[in-house]
C-alpha cells in the first residue's frame, strides 16, 4: 500500500483517471473543474497517460465526443460543472440510452443566475432524471477511490451506464488533502481495460441510436430503468471488492454515530465532515441521541439501504444544497419522504436548504438544525422547507 501524499483533490482525481488508463478525454474548461482537466492534459503531453485528449469547443460537444469515443470502444472520461453540465443536458439523456459507460466528474457549482462560481448542488439536481448513476464523495480520498471504482461499475456488462462522481466545487476540488494512492499494478488487476459489449466496427456493423417508434419506446425506457436499479447490486459488489483489496470500505448509505439515535441529520457531499463535528459535540457535550446519515449513492436511489437505518429514528433532518422551485421540499428531502412514506414508523422528515452558491454551513448551523427539526417534529409541523441562514 502506497504512503499518504498531500495533494489537491482535483489532482488526485486526475491521478485516478491516469491510473485507470483512460483512452479518451474530451472536456471544456469551467471553474471549478479546470484543475482536473488541466492536469490530465499535462499527463497526456508528458506521456504519462496514453490517451486522446480532445479539447472541444463546448460542453455539448464534450459529451458528444464522449459518445463517439465510447461507442468506438474507448474508456472515456470527462469533467464539468454547473453551466457546462446544463449545456450537456440534451446529450446526458442519450448516453445511458445508448448504454455508453462514460465517467464524469462533476465539481458541483451553483447554476446561474445570478452567476456564481461557488458550490451547491443545483447542477446535479437539474440532471437528476437523465439516467446516470450518481455518486457523491465527501473528501479527497473518497473522490480518488470513487473515481477509480466508477470505471469498473460503469463498464460492467451488467451495467453499461454512465456515472457521475460528484465533488463539491472549491470546498473539495481546490483543497489540499492527504491521499493514499494505489500502485499501477494493483489498479490494473482491479480494473482491466474496457471490453465493450458492442462497438462501432466495420467487421461487425451495428446501428446505434435508431428511431424509437411507439411500439418499443416504453419497453426501451423500462429496460433502462431496470438496468439502472440493478446497478446498485454491482456498485455494492465493486465497493466490497475494492475494500477487500485496498482496505478502504464503502457503503451506498454511510452512517456516523447513528446507533440508538432518535434524530439523524442527512447530508450528501463534503458538508458531511462538518456535520460529524456537530454530531460529536451534541453527543459528547450534551449527551443527545443524534447521528448522521451520508448518502453516497444518489442514483439509483438506495431505498432499502436507507430504510434499514430508520429503526428507532423519530426525526430525520435532511440538508439540501439546491432549491426545487415551487416544489414540495428540497430535492433530496422530497425523495427521502417518498422512500419512507409507506414504511412502518416512518420518521418525521424535516427539509432544510443550506449552503447555496458557496454559503458556508457551520457546525453551529448543524446543531441549530437538529434543535429546530426536533421542535418541528414535536409539533408535526407541515412545511415545504426551511432555509438556513437566509436574511429575510
Amino acid at each position: 500500500m502506497a504512503k499518504r501524499i498531500g495533494i489537491e483533490v482535483s489532482l488526485a482525481i486526475s491521478e485516478a483517471v491516469r491510473l485507470a488508463n483512460v483512452d479518451a478525454i474530451a472536456a471544456y474548461p469551467i471553474t471549478p473543474q479546470t484543475h482536473i482537466v488541466e492536469h490530465l492534459s499535462e499527463l497526456v503531453a508528458s506521456g504519462e497517460l496514453d490517451a486522446a485528449f480532445i479539447p472541444v469547443e463546448s460542453e455539448h460537444s464534450a459529451m458528444s465526443v464522449c459518445a463517439g469515443t465510447s461507442a468506438a470502444g474507448a474508456r472515456t472520461y470527462t469533467a464539468t460543472s454547473s453551466q457546462g453540465l446544463a449545456l450537456m443536458n440534451e446529450i446526458l439523456y442519450i448516453i445511458p440510452a445508448l448504454r455508453l459507460p462514460v465517467v464524469m466528474t462533476i465539481a458541483n457549482r451553483a447554476v446561474s443566475g445570478p452567476i456564481s462560481i461557488w458550490n451547491d448542488h443545483s447542477d446535479i439536481m437539474g440532471v437528476r432524471d437523465t439516467g446516470w448513476i450518481a455518486l457523491f464523495a465527501e473528501n479527497g480520498q473518497e473522490a480518488f477511490d470513487l473515481s477509480l471504482m466508477a470505471f469498473k461499475i460503469a463498464e460492467d456488462h451488467r451495467v453499461l451506464l454512465p456515472i457521475s462522481v460528484n465533488i463539491d466545487g472549491f470546498t473539495l476540488s481546490h483543497v489540499i488533502e492527504p491521499h493514499e494512492f494505489l500502485d499501477q499494478d494493483e489498479v490494473d488487476k482491479f480494473l482491466p481495460p474496457y471490453t465493450p459489449a458492442v462497438q462501432l466496427n466495420p467487421d461487425a456493423p451495428v446501428s446505434m441510436g435508431t428511431v424509437g417508434i411507439p411500439e418499443i419506446f416504453s419497453e426501451a425506457k423500462k429496460c433502462q430503468d431496470e438496468v439502472l436499479k440493478g446497478s446498485e447490486a454491482v456498485i455494492k459488489e465493486v465497493f466490497a471488492d475494492f475494500g477487500e483489496r485496498f482496505g478502504r470500505h464503502y457503503k451506498v448509505v454511510e452512517t456516523y454515530r447513528s446507533e440508538g439515535a432518535e434524530t439523524l441529520l442527512l447530508t450528501m457531499g463534503s458538508v458531511g465532515e462538518t456535520a460529524m463535528e456537530a454530531i460529536d459535540r451534541l453527543r459528547d457535550e450534551e449527551n443527545r441521541p443524534v447521528g448522521l446519515i451520508r448518502l453516497r449513492l444518489w442514483r439509483p436511489f438506495p431505498v432499502e439501504a436507507l430504510r434499514a437505518e430508520m429503526s428507532g429514528v423519530k426525526t430525520l433532518a435532511v440538508i439540501d444544497r439546491a432549491v426545487s422551485f415551487g416544489g414540495t421540499a428540497g430535492p433530496v428531502a422530497g425523495e427521502i419522504r417518498s422512500a419512507l412514506y409507506s414504511t412502518d414508523q416512518a420518521p418525521y422528515v424535516a427539509s432544510f436548504i443550506a449552503g447555496l452558491g458557496g454559503r458556508d454551513i457551520t457546525i453551529s448551523d448543524f446543531m441549530a438544525v437538529v434543535d429546530q427539526a426536533e421542535k418541528m417534529a414535536a409539533a408535526n409541523e407541515i412545511h415545504q422547507y426551511k432555509m438556513i441562514g437566509v436574511r429575510e
Binding site: 490517451a51 480532445i54 468506438a72 456493423p205 441510436g209
Partner: protein
C-alpha cells in the same frame, strides 16, 4: 465526358452499404446521393448521422438500412460525435485494442439545418481540431424532416412553412443562402467540395478524394427534395442538373486553398429554367426573378475570380 457524367450511373461500383427499403419519399435526391457515397466507400467506413430526414428514413427500429456501423446521437452534433469516433479508433489502434487495423473512413453526415444552423459550432470545432474525417452536408435547403421550415441555407425567394409568401410579404425567404462552403474553407482544411447526385461521377470522385485526404474534408452536396420544393418526384435529378447549368449551384473543389471548377458549361441556362418547375418559387414576380438572376451571376463571377486567382498562383 459530360455525357458520361450524366448518363452512365450504371457504371458505378456494384457495392452497396445502404440497403433498399428505407422510407424516403419518392424521388428523394438525398438518398440517391447517400447511395452514391456508399458505393464509393465500400464497407470500411463508419457514419455519425445527425437527426433529420436521412436518420429518420433509414433507422426506424427494429429496421436499419445501414450495412456499415452507424451512430445517431442528436441533431446538432454529428461533427462532434464523428470526431470522437475518429479519435477513439485512432487511440485504440495505437494501443492495439481495436479489432480492425485497416484504415477506416469516418463520415459525419447531416442536413443543411444540422450543418449551417444548429450544427455550425460543432462542425467548426471538429474542422479546427483537424480530425481525419469527411463531413458531408446533404443540402435540401430547408428543415424537411420537421415539415419544410426555413434554414439559413434556404435560397432567397423560396417559400417554406416559416418563410411563407403572403399578401403583406410576397417574397418568401428574405435572406441570401449562407455560404457554408466558404466557411468550411476558412478553416484551412485540406479539401472542400460541392457535389450533386445529378453528376454521379463527379460526386464519387470527390468522395474518394475526401476520404483519401488526411485530415478533415467537407463536401456540400446539393440534394433536391421533391416534397419540400413542391415539384414532381421525377424531376429531382434533372433539376439538380439545371441548378449546375444555370450557375445556381456550381460544382467546384478547394484543394489546399486552390479553387477549381470540376464541371463547366459553355452556355449557361437562365435561372428561370431552374425556378419554374418548383412550387416553392411559383409566387415570384418577373422583377424577383431578374433580381435572382443578378445575384446568381454575381456570386458565380466571384467564384470564377477565385478560380482564376488559384490558377495564377499555380502558374
Amino acid at each position: 465526358m459530360e455525357n458520361l457524367n450524366v448518363y452512365a450511373a450504371k457504371l458505378a461500383p456494384q457495392q452497396e452499404s445502404l440497403a433498399p427499403g428505407h422510407r424516403a419519399c419518392q424521388g428523394c435526391a438525398e438518398l440517391l446521393a447517400v447511395r452514391l457515397v456508399a458505393k464509393t466507400l465500400g464497407r470500411d467506413y463508419i457514419i455519425a448521422n445527425a437527426t433529420g430526414c436521412l436518420e429518420i428514413v433509414t433507422s426506424s427500429f427494429p429496421h436499419s438500412a445501414w450495412q456499415v456501423p452507424w451512430i445517431h446521437v442528436a441533431f446538432e452534433n454529428a461533427a462532434a460525435v464523428a470526431s470522437g469516433v475518429e479519435a477513439g479508433i485512432k487511440v485504440l489502434q495505437r494501443k492495439g485494442r481495436y479489432p480492425v487495423d485497416r484504415k477506416i473512413t469516418i463520415i459525419a453526415q447531416a442536413g443543411d439545418g444540422g450543418t449551417v444552423d444548429i450544427g455550425l459550432q460543432a462542425l467548426s470545432g471538429a474542422l479546427e481540431r483537424g480530425h481525419d474525417m469527411v463531413y458531408i452536408c446533404y443540402d435540401n435547403e430547408a428543415y424537411m424532416n420537421t415539415g419544410v421550415q426555413r434554414s439559413s441555407s434556404t435560397p432567397y425567394g423560396a417559400t417554406t412553412t416559416t418563410s411563407p409568401a403572403g399578401k403583406a410579404d410576397p417574397l418568401g425567404q428574405h435572406t441570401m443562402k449562407k455560404n457554408i462552403v466558404e466557411i468550411a474553407a476558412a478553416h484551412n482544411i485540406p479539401y472542400v467540395a460541392t457535389a450533386s447526385p445529378s453528376y454521379p461521377f463527379d460526386l464519387m470522385q470527390k468522395v474518394r478524394k475526401a476520404a483519401d485526404t488526411p485530415g478533415p474534408a467537407y463536401i456540400h452536396c446539393f440534394v433536391p427534395c421533391p416534397t419540400g420544393w413542391r415539384m414532381a418526384p421525377n424531376l429531382a435529378v434533372s433539376i439538380g442538373r439545371i441548378a449546375v447549368e444555370s450557375k445556381v449551384f456550381p460544382l467546384y473543389e478547394i484543394e489546399n486553398g486552390e479553387y477549381k471548377m470540376t464541371v463547366t458549361h459553355k452556355n449557361h441556362r437562365p435561372v428561370i429554367d431552374y425556378l419554374k418547375p418548383q412550387g416553392r418559387f411559383r409566387h415570384l414576380s418577373e422583377a424577383n426573378i431578374a433580381e435572382i438572376q443578378q445575384q446568381v451571376d454575381k456570386s458565380y463571377d466571384r467564384l470564377l475570380k477565385k478560380v482564376k486567382m488559384s490558377q495564377i498562383e499555380l502558374d
